[in-house]
Every structure is written in C-alpha cells, then in structure tokens.
Amino acid sequence: MNAMSSSAKNPTKFGESTIHLRGLTKQFGSTAVLRGIDLEVPEGAIYALMGTNGAGKTTMIKVLMNILRASSGEARVLGMPSSNLTGTAFHRIAYVSENQELPDGMTVGGMLDYMRPFYPLWDCALERQLVEQFHLPLGRKLKHLSRGMKMKAAFASSLAYRPKLIVLDEPLSGLDPLVRDELIEGLLERAPETTIFISSHDLAEIESFASHVGFLEGGRMLFSDEITAVSERFREITVTLAAPGALPERMPRNWLLVETVDCVVRFVASGYREGDTEREIAEIFPKVRAVEVDPMSLRRIFLAIAKSGRKGEARQAAEFGQEVQA
C-alpha cells in the first residue's frame, strides 16, 4: 500500500485536460446545485473531489457522465462534450457509484460474460486477475452479495477494459477497511494508464494516493489544486500571547476558525507562506511569546473548510488561498 501510494503521488507531469468544466451550472427547479464550476483534471491525475453532503459532488459527476444534463456552461470529458457521452464513448470510460443499480439477477460471472463483448479492449487476463484479487465468487448472484462484494464486482467489470478515465462516486463509503484497501489497491494498479476522478469522504485514504484535490461547497468549487500545493498552503497555527486580549475586529482573509483561550490564539491559515504569515501574526499581535506552525492532514483541512463554510468564511478564505498560490 505504501509503495503504491508513493508511486501514485510521484508523477508530477500531467497531460491535457481529461475533464474540463467552464461555468457549469445545474438547477433542479429553482434550486441551484452547481453554480458556475470551473475545473481542469489533467490526464494521468488522481483527482479527489471533496465536499460535504449536499455539496453537489454526485450531481457534478452525473453531469460529467451524461446521466444528468447541465443547465448551462461547458463540460468536456476526454475532449468530448459530456452531453454527447453515449454508446461507444463509454468504451474508454468507467463509472462506479455507491448507488449504482447492478443487474442483480445475474451472477458475477454472468455479468462479466455479458459485459465483455461490449468492450473491444476488454482484457480477459486482467479480468481473471481482478476476479482473483477481489476474491469474487463468480457463481453467486449479485443480489446475494454484500455491499463490499458488489462494489468489487462493479470495479472488476469497470477496470477490465482498461478505461482512459475512471469516475468513482463515493465508492468506498460504508465499506470495511479490508475491502477499501483491496479496492484502492486494484484501482491504483490501473493508475499509470488512466485518469481517476473520485469523490469520497474517506479523506485519509484519498490523501494517501490522490494527486489533485478539489473542494466543492454549496455548489461552488472552493479550490482545485495539486494535493502537495494544498498541503503546503494550509497550516494550523497556534499563537501564544504574552497576555490575554481581545481579538482584533479585522482579521486576514485567509485565517479560518480563529479562536482564543486565555493567552492562546488558534486558527487555520489557508494561504500559508513561511515568513510572511509570521510577520502578519506579529503585526496583529504585537506581544507574541511563541508561534507554532503545524502541517495539516487532508482530513483536517477538509474539516476546517467545512466548519468555516458554515460560518460563511470558507469561500473568501479559499479564494484568498488561491490568490496567494497564484
């Protein structure tokens, strides 16, 4: 797992956009679920789409897969308008969703047999390998399988034709750690030859293999970047003051979740730059005894953004972070 994680993180050269979104909006009646999304997912990337429940992740993926139609804006997948994705276009695209209805009346082997002729590039050797790797019971009907097994069967039927793009909507949620590891392992073995776009709440896992991350909140993309850049930009900062004091009214835009207890002020810097941030602290708090700067895991970044989103400060902070990065 570690070896795979590092191999997935290592590639830093990415090709043309596999997924390209410009001003994408989706409305259900008067409710806007996606509000002007811009996004580029380069070829070869493992892109993790994060967001709270109801942020619009599944809707965005369904628009990408032409399951839903965009209300406005542009969505291109593998160079093709997503609204044209149909029939043979899916020879190169795999889509697995936690809510997908599989042909329950079929056995696992029956489903694989049935799917095989649909794909000219179906790799029977790879299929056998995946069946072994996932310990799939070929003779059992899908409706009699556990959720984890069903997901493995869906993965096997989606990876065996070596797709150029794998789109996964919450594939790991609700699965036990062993199944998750098996699925991620199977997925990452395909990573060198494909682009993976995954939405997930399993942040710790994603952090271990994703190359890019995007955060969707309230139908807006708060940020989208390489995961290393995001990790460098976010820091948890603890400032110890010489004496307790009130927080100033105006705080820097990129400070999130600012809180104070006695002499200690804690916040999350979404546009951290070594030296600059310390100077900024010194300007706001003249009598500082100590400043502690801690790197943050993706999970903690996600939580910080999600919490600040509820306070209404996430968007401006993220925008500021993007500006700093630029």
């Binding site: 369904k62 897969m65 399951i67 839903l68 149909t86 029939g87 043979t88 276009a89 899916f90 020879h91 695209i93 889509y95 969703s97 809510n99 997908q100 209805e101 599989l102 042909p103 009346g105 079929m106 049935y114 799917m115 002729p117 649909f118 794909y119 869906a154």
Partner: protein, 507 residues
C-alpha cells in the same frame, strides 16, 4: 447486430420463466379453443372447458404484457442509477433488441399457435400467411406498442400495473360520461381512425424519447396527453360525425335504395314499451323499392321529433333493432325508436312529426350455390365449416379463417314430420333463412372466427307460431346467395300527424 443479438440472448436467458408462462398460456388457449366449435358435434366436449378458454383469453394478453414490460425494464429507462446507462449501449440497438425479443417471444408463438388453430379448424395455415401476419401486426400494435411505451416510463411491473389500473378507471369514468344510457351499441363499429393514429404516435414518441434521450418527464407527459387527445377526438369526432362521413346523403333526384311507410293496422298499432330506463316506440313499417338481386342493410338510425308548436328533439345516431337487412321479397317489420321518458312526455300530448333517417348499405347478389344441410360438421362453400343443430331452435354454428365470411343469405327447407318421411321432407312453405357473415370483427386472439346463425322463420312470424314443431333435417336443401358491397347512403321515413300512445307498457 452483435449488440442486438447479445442483449436479446441475455433477456431470453433472464426471462425464460416469463417466456415459458406466456407461451404456455398461448398454447393452452389454442389447445382448448377448438372446443368452441367441437362442442356442437362432439358430446365429449365440456362447456366448462369453454369457460376456461374465455379465462385464458383474458390471461394471454396479460402474459404478453408481463413479458414485454419485464424485458423493457431489464434496462430500465427511469432513474439515474442504472448501471447500463454508463455502459457502451447504443440506444438504437437496445431498442431493436427489445423489439426482436417481443417479435420472437410473442410474435412467433402467436403465429405458430394461430397456424395450429387454423389447422385444427380445418383450414390450411399456409393459405392465410398474409392475413396471419396482418393479425400479428395488429397484436403488436394493440398490445406490444402500448406495453413497450408504458414499460419505458415505469421502473417496475407493479408501477406499471397501478398505472394501468388508474388509466382503466379514468377510461370507465370517461365512457360513463360520454355514453348515452340505454342506447344500443353500434351494429357497425364506424372505427374512429384518429384513435389508432393518436395511440401509435403517442407511444412511438414516448419510446423514442426514452431510448434516445431518456426524457422521462416529457415521455410521461406525452403518454398522459395521448389519452386526453383520444378523448377529445371521441368527443369532437364522435360516432354521429363518423356515421355522417361513412353514409353520405343521397344526391338530389337519386332513387332511394328503399322506400319506407307507416303500416299500422287495428291489429298492429303503435305500441310503447318501457324498459332499461327508456321508452321504446314500436312502429310497424312497410317498405318497397329494393331492386331485384339487391339487399339493403339498416346499419344505424337517428330521428327528430317536431311538435306542432315547433319544439324539436333529435336523437344521436343509434343502432337499429329488429330490422337488419331486407330483400325485395320481404315487406314489413317493426321500427323501434328509443328515447328518455322526459322526452317522450314532452311530445306525447299532441300530434308530432317524426323524421327518421337510416344509414343504409346496398349489396348486390352474386351467383347462387345450392347444397344440402350436412349431417354433422362439414364444409359449406363460401362460408367455411358449419355444424347444424336440428332440433330446438335450429341453427348453423359456422367458423371461418381469420375473419367472418362475406355476407351470404342462406335459405333452407324445413320438415313438418320430424325428418322421418323423405316424401314430406321438404316443405316449400316452410323456408328458414339466415344472414351469414359480413360482420366486422375487431382483432381477436383467435385466427378462427365463429358465430351462430338461427335459421328459423325469421321473416314469417305466423308460420313460426303455427309450426313450432317443424325442424330442419340432414339433407335439407340449402341455398347460399353471397352478396357484395355496392354503396352506402341515407334513407328517410317521415311520420306526420303521429301520436304517441299515452301510457307505455312496462316490460
């Protein structure tokens, strides 16, 4: 083609039970159906079997619906979580695979079953292939297309069944609202040609939208609007309009095909009977003017009552009772005018003018065939196969391939001595008759058409009353006169200074 075949094979494997059930129902139906005619000459046939065949005729379409809907919903078009919508399915191939499934597993068993049935009825199936294929087309249009369309906008069979039940209740309500109570159903169907066009167009549009675009909401709207449009067409292009269209008024100066006149006598006055919530005026009429070698059929009628003070009421077109077809040799029958009691009461106080208009069809006789009444089930030229019944309301039970035989006037001699003495076998005074064939039957589950024809003294009540013990015998001369269609038109009868009987006889 590979994808079509691949999906077809998958559906066949998956729905083999449904295929088996639908096919078994179909073959059980055609195995039992011959009992309908065999019961007339084979004592071992049970009437209970016939009841079962009626039950099966109800189940067979349900089997077809189940099969169609299950196959369509295997790749459900409603919802956005189905695995197949992000797989390389091509919609045209998917739709073709479903149509192939319906044709192979509904159409082919249908053709085989119908061929078997024709053979069992004594007809050679290969002689009827075009008509069998037309029948198949009708089955697919009437059952297949709506089932396919509803299958595309519902995700489960239960959902579809509830939709159908709801639709049926709406249909019953609509039918109740537009039907005039007590009027007799049309003897001729006067098909509303707009209805099948609307039905097929609506279904085809919904199917295309779902397969090509998966626009469930729009497709459902279309399937809701289609019956509304059909209802509007029934209201605005109603039966009266269709009768007017099918039976043009005679050109000025053209001879009427038949001349009618009032024929009341002290012995046979105008009577009124009350039943079924309506008052029925029974008016004896006399007619002349039917040309030699022709017959006139009274298909529909309407009438207008006008009082001396100018009040007027008109009936819609309605079926003609008692009079059906007349020949030059026939002369008098009873005309029945039905109306609501309140209409009757409005006009009964004084003399009125009643203008009756008949929608008529003229037929021309062709060459006569003379044969004899067979002993048992036997072929009768131009008709098909018939089984005579000699005692107790003698009749001919006939069957034909696919549709009713052409309109034929059959006459036969009765015997006054119970068929025992050949010398008295044929009594020229006792001639029974029946009109055989000419019916326009709707598409049916069976390729064998059957009907029963009473061969009594239908046009001579006096003889019937006097000689109730007379009967037809094997070997009685049977004369068959086939007729062909000449044309349609309207014929009128005006009753002036006509007075309604004051009080109806409740019967």
């Amino acid at each position: 083609m590979n994808q079509i075949w691949h999906i077809f094979r998958k559906d066949t494997r998956r729905f083999w039970v449904e295929i088996l059930v639908a096919s078994l129902l179909e073959f059980a139906f055609v195995a039992i159906y011959p009992g309908r005619w065999k019961v007339h000459y084979d004592q071992s046939q049970s009437m209970r079997v016939l009841q079962f065949s009626s039950f099966l005729s109800f189940l067979v379409p349900i089997g077809w619906w189940l099969l169609t809907v299950r196959a369509v919903q295997a790749e459900a078009l409603v919802g956005d979580e189905q695995f197949w919508i992000t797989r390389p399915y091509e919609w045209k191939k998917l739709l073709t695979a479903k149509i192939l499934f319906i044709v192979v597993w509904i159409g082919v068993p249908y053709l085989l079953a119908q061929s078997w049935l024709l053979n069992a009825a004594g007809f050679h199936p290969l002689s009827y292939i075009p008509r069998l294929l037309y029948g198949l087309l009708m089955v697919l249009a009437v059952f297949g297309l709506p089932a396919l369309a509803l299958g595309t906008v519902t995700s489960t069979f239960v959902q579809l069944t509830l939709t159908l039940l709801g639709g049926y209740l709406v249909y019953l309500g609509f039918n109740f609202a537009v039907t005039t109570p007590g009027l007799f159903p049309a003897t001729h169907p006067y098909p509303n040609k707009v209805l099948p066009v609307l039905l097929m167009a609506g279904c085809a549009a919904a199917i295309w939208l779902q397969y090509a675009r998966r626009r469930t909401r729009v497709a459902r709207t279309i399937l809701l609007v289609t019956p509304l449009l059909m209802a509007l067409s029934v209201v605005f292009y109603n039966r009266s309009s269709r009768v007017d269209e099918a039976y043009p008024q005679n050109a000025a100066g053209a001879a009427a095909p038949v001349v009618l006149s009032l024929a009341t006598t002290p012995e046979e006055p105008v009577k009124t009977q009350a039943w079924d919530g309506l008052y029925h005026l029974n008016v004896p009429v006399h007619y002349t003017g039917v040309q030699d070698g022709q017959a006139v059929s009274f298909d529909d009628m309407r009438f207008t009552i006008t009082s001396a003070d100018g009040r007027q009421w008109s009936s819609p077109w309605q079926a003609v009772r008692y009079i059906r077809r007349i020949l030059p040799t026939t002369n008098g029958v009873t005309l029945e005018l039905s109306m609501k009691p309140e209409v009757y009461d409005r006009f009964k106080s004084g003399p009125v003018t009643v203008q009756v208009t008949f929608a008529t069809t003229r037929y021309q006789a062709d060459s006569i065939t003379r044969t004899t009444v067979p002993t048992g089930d036997a072929a009768i030229p131009g008709v098909g196969f018939c089984t005579p019944r000699f005692r107790q309301m003698p009749n001919l039970y006939c069957r034909a391939a696919i549709q009713a035989p052409r309109l034929t006037y059959a006459t036969l001699m009765w015997s006054s001595d119970g068929c025992s003495d050949p010398a008295h076998l044929y009594n020229p005074a006792a001639q029974g008759s029946a009109w055989i064939g000419g019916e326009e039957a709707p598409p049916a589950l069976s390729a064998v058409w059957t009907n029963q024809y009473w061969t009594g003294f239908r046009e001579n009540d006096e003889l019937r009353k006097l000689h109730a013990d007379w009967q037809i015998c094997p070997g009685s001369p049977l004369t068959l006169t086939p007729y062909h269609w000449l044309g349609t038109g309207q014929t009128g009868l005006t009753l002036t200074n006509f007075t309604f009987p004051a009080s109806p006889h409740i019967g």
